[in-house]
Symmetry: C3
């Protein structure tokens, strides 16, 4: 294993801004910082694949806060922490209740006396999830400043109402590996498109995160959805600005066909209309559960009008050489498999199953890389040390 | 501590077939392979008792999948994994739902990116539990083959509809220690008998596992139960075949007295009739919950007709010198203690409490040995290294 | 970091009585033993703050048994165990059911095959919690004696019906640090007073634990509460005896004003009347849930008559120089923040927030110190070794 390559790649980047900070939104990070996450993720993977332990912590907790059920994210986070030597400890606040102010301040400190990292997933309420993470960040920052916490745990956004940085960064790492590096992405077309699903209220964090991230690599990013399925306006603004800066483009369309036309990468996935999710958040705030039921019913009806938004073989045919990279954050709604009509035809999904699983496999490394860079002042030196030390992770 | 003795014992066995494989049924394993599990379990225990750490993994997850509540198995698995350096991470699929096909394939891979082992307990549905384990095995095998998984996690059956290998192997290890080795078991009589319990639907995995395993050591194995309480026919076939091969015997009777007569070992334990469990599985499949209730009522009534099937002092008197080894997988239904009428009289249970607890104490080591042998190519060499290194497990 | 200071402090104390025993009640321990816990807690903290790992276990489980929901205690226990190298494994017996006799004996052994420590929180039933801990202790002691358990796990009382030793010891450590040592506490006045809360049935363990512990340091301890809010008589007897022995005093009053007058430390906190809790325990025993509801209603009404028992700025004014140390075990009921009327005025709480958080921050170290002293025969030597070895806990 050639760790030197990874060390040099990391040393060429200015990633100092990550140290001691949180990872809440990709668009708050510089290109160098994002590339540092990719570099460290690759390095940690190389270490593990060479059976060299990347364990840097002898002890320490990693607090996980999940506001919904999440097997995959839970395992990704637990895997990442375990790899680094941290023990994931679940903090279950109760799923419906959204804690605020005093309570957040206090509990954030109470669970953090020996915490190195806090992973938070809070994607269910528009305007709340990312804000909650910032409340927690502020609380532990104050606790650290005032001597309550010996160390300031670093926060990783495991999905919020605005972004899903660990997913999108894993997606991007998958693209980088598939296309052979960032230099090959310039001018490529990626279609982030809505797709029909029989279920209701899927989060917006993936489409928003994808347009907010992929526009930074000089790609032509197309966002496609039926009318009414708008994402948060500020994330579109981020996408526009990024595209302008990177020499790529960001366009919108209401045609799935148009989006797929000549695309190098397609990401067809269901989500709920932003406006509806905002309404739902308000209904929750008012405790109006009848209103929520009515809204849900309405949304399912509206969804059902767009059953033709599905990733078919015919659509795939229209992509670049008929061979676009098909992506999904999983689990997908597969027509005839997990539902009658869904986001994708079974034959398309089948053909891309292994790449999809590999896409998901980057996530533990991306999470570990974020914690690594946010907690370690000289990450390149520590990587070199780990490789030199060469502690076996597992017996042969 | 003399590790050399254990190393030699292991080196004399051909256990290569365990490496990279799963432990699903004892009757799929050779005698040497089973003996290797016993040898490594003893070796790991010797290390721990000498306060030498048998930790072979620096990091890595061990996924646990439990389809019912299980404090004891959970702790046994967690203990085994912890001893080896793995962190047990619970994967809760939901208790009622039985996942299939696509879902199993996907989630098995999604939770396994950094998993070394997967422990599964799925004993509630006839024809499903063991099959589910094989689906998981196939999924991670494919994931490994296709480069999704860097390592192929090894599966340990923590109880299924057919067998309960970790329990029965622990039981056997207890017998080996009590009788001073396999050479002393030839010609001994063991009675696996049904016993009355006021509860309903106890799994068949223990009686099936016991007759499937104990028939391999030249013992005379008697299976006793009231008419109608048949176990799965294929496990009886396994028992017959094993007995023929080992020079022992496998007989059936409907008399508890006959089974106890002259027995060296007795294992009186309640279970549900196989046919009824099959019916229940089908009723579940049809969502017929009224049918299940009716079945349950009927089964309790049928059970109640056999309250005389209980391990009394008088029955114990009839065993070899009145001193047969009484065994149970725990918890037992003890007459006058945990219920009005149960599987065993309190005075019998009391006399054997400490041996019973010791019997249970072998289980973590058996699980650890299975993982050890399935993940380590040169287990004898690694044991020798651990002993030579002599890392303290705990302070004095 | 000067570990020598801590080692000498510990060597000057006779703490041999802690080894191999449990921590169930502070009043069962000698002064030297309590001081040893403080010394080791400070030493472990010093190690961690110097980034030196205090990990003494290479593997081993720490079983946690919680009879109610408890995020803070759970994290404190998990943090303490993780620091020492143990993995906390939750044993969920079900929250309502109180296991007894046979079941306790068996399960205590079944979960302890590889356990080094057992943390128990059982504060809901008067006369039950502490007794349950002793049942567990007896069970594992017997299991150890009879060769079932290779090691005898040590028990830490994480809150019972009588005492809350980890909380009170953390409180005391906070006092020691605030006042600069035990020599400065002689003659100081501490007011443990009842305070109004809109909720019902708060445990008595904190007031009882505080009067049982703080009376040992030559302080003047005043217990104040409205008539009818008596604590367990035997804990008052402990307080009297301790005060006599330490040269302090223990007095009771029904006036919050009197208690606060000239106090150096105030601890205003709600609790339920002992007699009512005893009644509730009996009602539970009888399964009389209507009776429990009626009792709860009555208690809330009685509580409401004492809304004036709240820690106001005016009351704080009356303490020594208006600057008494305000203490609470958290979470507090803060007037206008977490409830309309509560235990403390928001401005008082705000001024003491950071000290309160620091108070809570001692708890993981106190728990770790208890386990350390109860499991390690030569704790001073092991501390010196840890410092000499100097293994980094976390990367810089």
């Amino acid at each position: 294993m050639d760790m030197n390559k990874h060390v040099k790649r990391l040393e060429a980047l200015d990633a100092r801004g990550l140290y001691g900070k949180d990872f809440l939104l990709t668009w708050e990070k510089t290109d160098d910082e994002l590339n540092a996450v990719f570099a460290v993720a690759d390095a940690l993977r190389a270490l593990r694949e060479a059976n060299i332990s990347p364990r840097v912590f002898d002890s320490g907790l990693a607090v996980s806060v999940f506001r919904d059920n999440s097997t995959r994210t839970r395992f990704s986070f637990a895997s990442a922490c375990n790899l680094l030597g941290l023990v994931a400890q679940d903090f279950d606040e109760g799923k419906s209740q959204v804690a605020h102010g005093e309570t957040v301040r206090e509990t954030a400190n109470m669970v953090s006396f020996m915490a190195e990292a806090i992973g938070i997933r809070d994607d269910m309420y528009i305007g709340k999830g990312n804000r909650y993470m910032r409340e927690v960040a502020k609380a532990v920052q104050e606790g650290y400043r005032d001597g309550v916490l010996e160390r300031r745990p670093t926060i990783v956004n495991l999905q919020c109402d605005m972004d899903h940085p660990t997913q999108c960064m894993a997606d991007m790492l998958h693209i980088l590996h598939t296309f052979g590096g960032a230099e090959n992405l310039r001018g490529k077309k990626i279609a982030m498109t809505w797709a029909y699903s029989p279920s209701y209220g899927k989060p917006l964090s993936v489409p928003q995160g994808i347009i907010g991230l992929m526009t930074r690599f000089g790609m032509h990013v197309t966002l496609a959805h039926p009318q009414g399925y708008e994402v948060m306006r500020e994330t579109e603004a981020v996408a526009c600005q990024n595209a302008a800066g990177s020499g790529g483009s960001f366009t919108k369309t209401h045609s799935m066909e148009e989006a797929f036309e000549g695309a190098d990468i397609v990401y067809p996935k269901s989500w709920a209309p932003f406006a509806a999710m905002e309404t739902r958040t308000n209904l929750y705030g008012q405790g109006d559960f009848d209103g929520i039921k009515a809204l849900e019913k309405e949304l399912l009806l509206t969804n059902a009008r767009h059953k033709d938004w599905t990733c078919t073989e015919a659509l795939m045919e229209a992509t670049r050489n008929g061979k676009a990279l098909y992506m999904h954050c999983l689990p997908a709604d597969i027509t005839g498999v997990s539902c009658e009509r869904g986001e994708v035809e079974a034959s398309v999904f089948d053909r891309y199953r292994m790449p999809l699983y590999k896409e998901a496999g980057f996530k533990p490394y991306v999470i570990a890389a974020m914690i690594f860079l946010q907690r370690i002042q000289n990450p390149a030196a520590v990587l070199a040390e780990l490789a030199a030390k060469g502690t076996s992770r597992a017996p042969d």
